[in-house]
Symmetry: C2
Subunit: 390 residues, 2 copies
Amino acid sequence: MTRSAPQRGFPNAEFEARTEAAQAGMAEAGLDGLLVMSEPEVRYFTGFQTLFWQSPTRPWFVFVPASGKPIAVIPEIGAALMRTCWIDDIRTWSAPNPQDDGISLLRDLLAPLAAQGARIGLPKGHETALRMPLADWERLMAALPGMQVRDATGLMQGLRMIKSDAEIEKLRHICAIGSATFDHVPDFVEVGQPLDEIFRAFKRAALGLGADDVPYLVGSAAPGGYVDVISPPSARPLQHRDVLMMDTGCVWDGYFCDFDRNWAIGAGGDAAQRAYDVLWRATEAGLAAAQPGHTCRDVFVAMSGVIGELDESGGDIGRLGHGLGMQLTEQPSHAAFDETVLAQNMVLTLEPSLSYGGGLMMVHEENIVVRADGAELLSRRAPAALPVLR
Amino acid sequence: MTRSAPQRGFPNAEFEARTEAAQAGMAEAGLDGLLVMSEPEVRYFTGFQTLFWQSPTRPWFVFVPASGKPIAVIPEIGAALMRTCWIDDIRTWSAPNPQDDGISLLRDLLAPLAAQGARIGLPKGHETALRMPLADWERLMAALPGMQVRDATGLMQGLRMIKSDAEIEKLRHICAIGSATFDHVPDFVEVGQPLDEIFRAFKRAALGLGADDVPYLVGSAAPGGYVDVISPPSARPLQHRDVLMMDTGCVWDGYFCDFDRNWAIGAGGDAAQRAYDVLWRATEAGLAAAQPGHTCRDVFVAMSGVIGELDESGGDIGRLGHGLGMQLTEQPSHAAFDETVLAQNMVLTLEPSLSYGGGLMMVHEENIVVRADGAELLSRRAPAALPVLR
């Protein structure tokens, strides 16, 4: 381990504060309740943490009333774990049940509100999904005449974007583990090694350094530079003059790091070195711009200005960084369209990318927390020049 | 590595056959197209494989027309990888774009069909989710007056339940890696070791034996038996007389194993030994029942009959096994409600569970492929008596 680990989990006060903040936002938005069903949202309000979400079979629901504790409507298989959480009202059914996967329980819960023409919030906007069968959602709505559903995406985003001190400690810890793992790369990477074996070695190293999981590791290695940044690894052996990139999302206690590193194998070509230098300085510009009161757009513009030295298009990935927390990518986005005002305790990635050399691309990424006086790095800053593995 | 690995990926003929089978099913159901957006469905038709789905930011779409190759409507960041797949028509946008995350591209693609009052299929039933913002779905439907949307859950389930020989080879390979990893457990587990460290050691072992990833590992260890089967590991040190259970979904080339193993630490109590024996024999009954022509319900009844020796409730997990493939759990379910007729080349789990000893529970799981003459094990059969780690 690189450092002593923080405490796992959260005191109940954390969930109380989250719920109260949600309820304050609901009151402001005129919402009589909030229905969530995604893994991070259910965890946000309850602390319910399990990998069982990887089974798509069963839906899970949490309803946040206008006052009082959240109510869980979940499959019976999750009851024992949910009972260890801070909430009291846990309603379960024997799932899967294709005829009624929680729908009548939800209807019974919401019918009194629907009868009053209540408004409930549902995150149904940008970056959300409906983690239940659409047909069941339609059936539930048909069973709740009078219920008004409003988009609560902005409300949830506003809550989750600002991290608590305890969340930041978890994020700092997993970023330190990610940094330590990248530091070890020269120990287990060598010319001739298949890329998929390098990926396995990376994951084993991260686990050995204290990561709970390495759910995300993508990257590439190709002569002089790479063309794709989301592929699984090939079995191609690493070659002299390759540029190697690995981008990882490691997890500790349910919180992600998300950053990447680049290496030249044996020797770095001029074009790759130049691209790296531009990206490193673009990140410096992003670090300087990531201040409370500035917008995500400001951070985007600051990085784009440097990227423009080499690549006027700025690439077509759509943004130059994003929020980070219980998910690999969270709102907001460092993009021209995002006017979100940065605030203290936002945890963000800075992720400039560019195209160069006729079809090659390069990415570079750091993780930060916004403090009163600007960006504090959570990842250990990448070296200023493209490192060479010999 | 436990054995030489199969070829990664699939020949184009595999995707052609999948598409033709889908189109035959669509014709039978009177569908003029099929819209899918989940990771396994997009991969099923295109071969597009990436961990990038872990970012919830961007939606991805594939449309299967009544004839011809599927059409991808995807974020530009996936274009390079999608171009390595067999399909030709790839339409991209610079995502994320909160104003238009693929919706106008989808509208342009589907508008000619909508104008004819066409019927398109969408998986919107049991075990599905809508992996796009609900508000965007509603906006798309509003832009396509005349379009009729039909539930295609049964169609997709029917296609994906029957595995090709190439898929079965991948599943066999990852099940062999899972079995080999469980065989190594006595080498890295000892009394006094914190459970979370045991989990890390398990993942490192599986990676070392050739797994691409270990995205799913849950389990418990507690005196005489456990009470919960979906928790992340605690830091509690393993103790003499604990029953330890680990349940893993390892992945190779995008295909999952999903089975568990139990051990008594030092000595197994009578109650745990008895529960294990019942579950082992319930699995034998399931193996005998898993024949072409029998139903999932038949398999459930066969296993329940044995479980009833000890636990008349049969627990409340809702089913005693499920399909297995690109997801940790797929349809069908071994449950009283599921009349799916077993057919050759279905890959399934047999997963009996029971409650015993006043609040304890135990699970047991194997992975099989249904052959003409019955079940063929893909996992190495668990020992007939509760193994003791000394």
